[in-house]
Symmetry: C2
Subunit: 341 residues, 2 copies
């Protein structure tokens, strides 16, 4: 281990500073001028202080590590977003500590405290467990993706536009009734916009519609049972020619599709389905699913950009926190496949 051979005395000798100054560099970097910090950092390099990243971290807080908190890896959307976030390494050099929260707020708090203790430079939060108010009080760079974001920066898809797009494609498929199944989101969660966009389109264009609010549960078995009874409900109630169903994500749309195909051996012309996200499953489904696509690659890029703006500010001697959180909204892209033909 090369670093064990380089002592404070060596660094002091090389730089001409006292050992006390070197100590202060490691222990309390702000007490050393920026110019001298640079000289010492340079000396560390020159002395082949090979494993010195942690030393530099002590000095300038640059771990180049970001914490990512996702609710789970089961939902295709989350593993897809995670995949894109991790892939930004080649562009930005930042590495990612990943945590799956599983809705336990105490464990999530404990985890965040550890991330902060390790001087993780920022956090990307997809879980819904802690309020943005609480998160903002940690006072480190944060960006939220598709969750309540009043007090923190965020990158979201334009969910309202997504709801409009879904209703439009179902209307164009000549459905007699337009149904949207979604969870019971409060109005401050971005996904709620999908419901609003769907309703507004139907009302202003005078389409029959229905919103089915369900608690879909947290496991595949729970999802499957709820969607099975939801489909039974639809079959019993609608004897019209064509039923258009907009599911709140591709994972659920795929479950619905499988239930229908298991019953009929094919997707009958009577049913049209639209999902949300453009997760890999929508393309890989037995009948490729029409979906309102989130631009996940851009979401990951924008999240990193917003995080880096904050991170660079925090590195200054007297950082000025953002006066207002940045909220970036990306347009969804409708991907037409076979379930609306």
């Amino acid at each position: 281990m090369a670093d064990k051979n380089v002592t404070f005395a060596d660094i002091a000798e090389y730089t001409g500073f006292s050992k006390t100054t070197i100590s202060r560099y490691f222990n309390n970097p702000d007490s050393v001028t920026l110019e001298n910090q640079a000289k010492i950092a340079h000396a560390l390099e020159a002395l082949n202080y090979k494993e010195n990243k942690l030393a530099r971290v002590m000095a300038n807080g640059k771990t180049e590590i970001i914490g990512v908190i996702i609710p789970n890896l089961y939902m295709h959307y989350y593993s897809n977003v995670l995949d894109h976030i991790i892939s930004t390494y080649e562009k930005n050099g930042y590495k990612f500590i990943v945590f799956s929260g599983n809705d336990d707020s105490d464990i999530e708090r404990k985890y965040i405290n550890e991330l902060i203790a390790y001087k993780t430079e920022g956090m990307i939060i997809l879980s819904h467990t802690l309020s943005s108010k609480e998160l903002s009080e940690y006072n480190i760079p944060i960006v939220a993706i598709e969750r309540e974001d009043k007090y923190i920066c965020s990158v979201n898809t334009d969910n309202y536009m997504g709801g409009v797009q879904a209703a439009t494609v179902l209307a164009k498929s000549e459905c007699d009734i337009l149904i949207h199944a979604n969870s019971d989101f409060s109005e401050d969660v971005p996904s709620h916009g999908r419901i609003k966009g769907f309703i507004d389109f139907c009302e202003s264009n005078k389409y029959d519609y229905k919103i089915l609010v369900k608690d879909f549960g947290n496991t595949y078995d729970e999802n499957h049972n709820i969607i099975k009874s939801l489909f039974k409900e639809i079959e019993d109630e609608y004897t019209v020619k064509k039923v258009g169903i907009f599911m709140s994500n591709d994972t659920y749309a795929n479950i619905l599709l499988n239930i229908i195909i298991k019953k009929y051996g094919t997707l009958p012309d009577k049913y049209k389905i639209v999902g949300f996200d453009n997760s890999p499953i929508s393309k890989e489904a037995i009948v490729p699913i029409t979906t309102v696509g989130q631009q996940v690659d851009k979401i990951a890029d924008e999240a990193m950009k917003i995080l880096l703006v904050q991170i660079n500010e925090y590195k200054k001697r007297k950082p000025k926190p953002l006066s207002n959180p940045i909220h970036k909204v990306l347009t969804p892209i409708l991907v037409r496949r076979e379930t609306t033909k």
Copy 2:
């Protein structure tokens, strides 16, 4: 930031040691006796040296961070293993930096060097990019999962037994021909055992069998095209009553199932399918897929156990590296579902 107020002088005063000793604790901990290291660590706690984890890392190398390198997040097996690895946080307190290698050996080397520079305590490697010889030379605790592992510790499923289980369940379903489709693995990759187990069972029990070796590609589209032509090949060649097909993983088994159902509207009695892994997709498929289950929860636990043995050894003043790598093999569990009924 609480830590900025606590200086070396404060720590020296509290402990009664000289400032030089405190410096040495941070810079070259091995030059301080273990007893005194403990005293200083205790002082840091007592002085509410709140964000002192990095200081302690400098002292004892305990980052409690482990690097995980997976080939991709697209294959259901990898996201499932990752999910279980991450979940060990609650048990062991270790956090995970996750990297998806995408088969680029240069980027993977660069990444591993960064992990080492940050004193990541160990690595769990699922990618196939670098040889175990090269990995062993990094000289840090490593455990491999389901990859070539001659020179490094590993946790694998008993793939030979898995091949036997798959052939057995197809034979019991009264298939006239038993087919196993797999990639062209070299013999030092654990998965190769599946082929061997399958062949040995068929030969010793005198079943007709065929091994189809394919390059399945790296994307869904590539997988889908190869499996589509593979199924056409099978349909053209076998006019016997029942064809049993053992696919090398559940992702591929699900693609095959969807191709068959899209053609027939159902899984005809003529075809029996077995997958491998017991990934969520096997259960969530349109017809739940019989599969040779890897005990992913145990694999994650055992990987952490083997890593912690090595990590604890490395923390000693004079660590003795393992004389031989540990190779833990876990028995697969056949999960009978509807594709072999």
